[in-house]
Assembly symmetry: C2
Homo-oligomer: 117 residues x 2
DNA sequence: CAGAATCCCCTTGGATACTG
DNA sequence: CAGTATCCAAGGGGATTCTG
């Protein structure tokens, strides 16, 4: 019936939205990297390398590039010796904060429920 | 200073929580699959195959297994001919609803901001 | 319908070494 | 410090076919 089909269409739109989000956030490390930058506000390459346990510099470099292309983070080369680079969230990137916070909360919740016991 | 170190530790905990969440939700399709099941409440294998555009039955099968192991979804074999299988979120899986909704919203937002124009 | 099984390509991503 | 370059292995994942 008409009502059902409209519902179907709405879900399709939502499925597409999810896919759009996933396109940007995909990759083993993207969320973790964003989280690091988000929590500390400004973060340098080597800091992130430390925050995200297990990541290699090659992967970090690659993921940062993609995040920059998607306009979620901003890269600034600082005039120091040796060179340091500062990463920050863009205004658009900051809109991910809600998702990051929710995922953090859920991680705690999940650990309590499943892992921790 | 002490204050700073405490802050550092808190962030480490949060980074760990994010990693825990990502461990469970990782994979190209997991979120999309959960979204499909979540929106429709009950969903059959072939339905999900249709909802998640691009996924193959092999991948769907694999991801569903992992989601079941992580206790996010429940699998029920229905007594029909031919056999159909119903997937639903568990109570624990339903706690992901917030994240799913946020990601849906963000997808719309992102499309408006970046993709659509 | 709901998968399991095969085949096979191509990406992901780790380890290591090197550069400005 | 912030990457780049290279090598290489594991497995992610598509297409197709088969089964109960």
């Amino acid at each position: 019936m008409e009502c059902k089909e409209i519902k179907q269409d709405e879900h399709k739109k939502e499925m597409m939205a999810i896919q759009d989000t996933m396109d940007v956030l995909q990759g083993k490390w993207k969320i973790a990297i964003l989280t690091s930058i988000c929590f500390y506000n400004k973060r340098r390459f080597s800091d992130i390398l430390n925050d995200v346990s297990g990541i290699s510099n090659k992967m970090l470099s690659k993921e940062l590039k993609e995040l920059e292309i998607n306009q979620l983070i901003k890269r600034t080369i600082l005039d120091t010796h040796p060179v340091t680079v500062r990463y920050q969230l863009t205004e658009h990137g900051k809109t991910l904060r809600t998702i990051i916070d929710n995922m953090t909360d859920w991680g705690f919740h999940h650990r309590k429920k499943i892992i921790g016991k």
